[in-house]
Symmetry: C2
Subunit: 426 residues, 2 copies
């Protein structure tokens, strides 16, 4: 990293970079689309869902039993039952015709509408039907007992699910309960991904002298995880014309374009120069005060965002999480899900780079009920296995030098804590 970074005289802080980027982007929201409720899991709601009708839409019985005028049962007990006249039955899916009067009862099933006049349901196991057609009630029912009231769950006219919400299983249940078969969600953003570099080739068997492009498969998976749709632009050689042609294709077909590598001291500013030639305002920020991922660039071309990611896979991934994921959430108009965080004791000093936000891959382990965190040695941010071995990330802020051995630090946990003595795979 050190050498590649040398070209950057100034680095912009992460928040400042985002501010400049979002200001230039102005509107980034996506159109909506109507889809079936059953296929809407994890999609982002594009409408405020209001209740056209109350849920329940009518008074219904919560039990199998007998609808009564509660007063008729007051004082009833096993030894002193009250006797009511059976005058009908309330069935599921049919509104009862009959109005219940004092001294009368109606058989009722769970979910069936409560007849007018009734204000309680006595459970069937607390009753006895006599041959005479009368029913004995062995308990007193309080007014309202065993009745689900109109609007108890949802009141007609209220907004129950707000625009921007990520739809989860209970939300699907509520939509269905409201009688909805389709729902308006935000269209998934299309994210085009281009790798650059003479040194990388398409995936496939590794042969001598061949380096497989890791960035595209990784970034495509990351886009998917954020709720986007990846568009594969392939690999461009370190050639301005080829990069330009492929980026144009990306801008035409996607909502957001990612391009990896093509900017380092050795290669010059190939990608930034190409982006600047594509349209205004071009590169806004190039060089971010973060380690790794310093060579990240943020650009806008004719209203569309382009993020120029570093070529080393770990740097590309960390830059993605820092800039691309928040941008995708912004386009979708939603918030990030809560992230698992834990605290653990550092087994080694964790060192940051002063003035830079430092992202350190770590391994969190439990030993004898205590949590320990070990920074993983990373000889270079090309080393993929530091990320596959890591189960968490420690972020050292710009104004913190690091954390001493033995200090308790906060970790973003993305895999389960390792149990026992295992040192993790090499």
């Amino acid at each position: 990293m050190k050498a590649r970074d040398r070209g950057f005289k100034e680095a912009t802080r992460i928040e400042e970079a985002r501010r400049i980027f979002y200001e230039a982007l102005q509107t980034v929201s996506l159109p909506s689309e109507m889809i079936p409720v059953q296929g809407s899991l994890n999609r982002i709601l594009a409408e405020d869902v209001g209740a056209d009708a109350s849920v329940p839409a009518f008074e219904k019985s919560a039990m199998d039993g007998y609808a009564v005028v509660a007063e008729d049962t007051f004082g009833s007990s096993q030894t002193n039952p009250s006797l009511l006249k059976l005058v009908g039955e309330s069935k599921i899916g049919e509104l009862p015709m009959k109005t219940l009067r004092k001294g009368e009862t109606i058989a009722i099933a769970t979910g069936a509408p409560v007849p007018q006049g009734a204000d309680a349901v006595v459970m069937v196991e607390n009753t006895k039907r006599l041959d005479t057609g009368d029913v004995e009630m062995y308990t007193a029912a309080a007014p309202g007992e065993n009745i689900s009231h109109i609007g108890e769950d949802v009141k007609q006219g209220t907004v129950v699910l707000e625009r921007g919400r990520k739809l989860k299983p209970p939300d699907l249940g509520l939509l269905v309960a409201l009688g909805r078969e389709t729902v308006s969600v935000v269209r998934r953003p299309k994210v085009a991904i281009l790798s650059t570099g003479n040194e990388v080739s398409e995936s496939g068997p590794v042969t001598s002298g061949r380096i497989v492009d890791v960035n595209r498969p990784v970034l495509m998976a990351m886009v998917e995880e954020c709720g986007g749709v990846p568009v594969d632009l392939g690999i461009a050689k370190d050639d301005a014309e080829e990069i330009s042609k492929k980026l144009k294709r990306g801008l035409a077909s996607a909502d957001l374009v990612l391009v990896t590598a093509g900017t380092s001291v050795g290669k010059g500013d190939l990608v930034p120069d190409v982006i600047n030639a594509l349209g205004k305002p071009g590169m806004l920020v190039h060089g971010i005060a973060m380690r790794p991922s310093l060579p990240t660039g943020l650009a806008v071309v004719n209203g569309k965002p382009i993020v120029s990611l570093p070529g080393l896979p770990v740097s590309a991934m960390i830059a993605f999480s820092t800039f691309v994921q928040p941008l995708i959430l912004r386009m979708l108009g939603t918030e990030q899900d809560p992230q698992p965080k834990i605290r653990a004791r550092a087994t080694k000093r964790i060192v940051g780079v002063p003035g830079f936000r430092t992202f350190i891959r770590v391994l969190v382990r439990e030993k004898e009920g205590k949590l320990f965190v070990e920074p993983l040695r990373a000889p270079g941010s090309g080393i993929l296995t530091t990320l596959t071995r890591a189960n968490g990330m420690v972020v050292v802020p710009e104004n913190v030098e690091g954390y001493d051995e033995g200090a308790e630090v906060e970790i973003q946990l993305f895999r389960p804590v390792e149990r026992g003595e295992g040192a993790g795979r090499p």
Copy 2:
């Protein structure tokens, strides 16, 4: 709930119920299947992935520049460059023919193989190519500088990803880097879902007297979230023959069968009786020491698991998280992802049911930088909106009465914390 629960004289504790269930199930693991790496995100690895070759597979340059014998550059500086004879070029994808001798250098691109004899690369910007064909080196290179060594990332023969791992973007990158195009993953479990009840009907517009079946859409989404494939068995009336026929279909087509409702005091043990008639050992546990979801049942029929879930949607969801999700993870041979948890101060007393594990839906809010948690009133576990309004769950253990107002409690957070004064939607 109270009335429906009355039928259960004894309730089995959650861990004991799981133990009995898993013991009767014996083997629950699923077969594996080979799929393309690019489609393997979030699938569970069914093989230990070893490295057939080291990564990098050869010494390669980390920079554009010149391969040298480091010793030749010792003492070099801007004012006192060393002069080396250019004898060739190392190209990407070609193994260099030439062996470098002292006094010689070879032009080399990032990613190109380092020739025999060379042990460092001098970056191009610290060199000057003379017209004579010689190259001036303005810095001293340490042995190993700017060279990625064989096996630096992965050593041949080591296991880098273990069976049972959920594949995440960096794992896909590592697989690709190893030259893998396909990967062996555990087949997704098929989970068949049957709703029962005369009172519920298929989803669609709500009309008077019609109650939409909420459980199937919700449970299907939950199965999907756990990495399973839902199989819809529809709705069965409260009729033993119909339930039996549909459960048989489920057992024939799926790895796990879920059935909701059909067990309460009013309806008798319709579903449990049907399950017991289907095969041995039948219902193993019926009635769990938890609130809500007491009427949950765990069964095994001819080696296949059946989980009988309560009919009320919230109860069904909590029982699913408690029993079905862990079972699916067990079938997949994997661990649960780390879950976001936070601590907040209770704004009201949070009450458990002694002897039962109590699951309380809560709303967590931030006010002036502090976190507060409020239990949501739940007049019944049929009330879906308590789950859609909630952003978290507090679990009160069996031996705890509850938490006082003002106490700090731990919350499983499943949605972002609410900011500001908003009281949440009704």
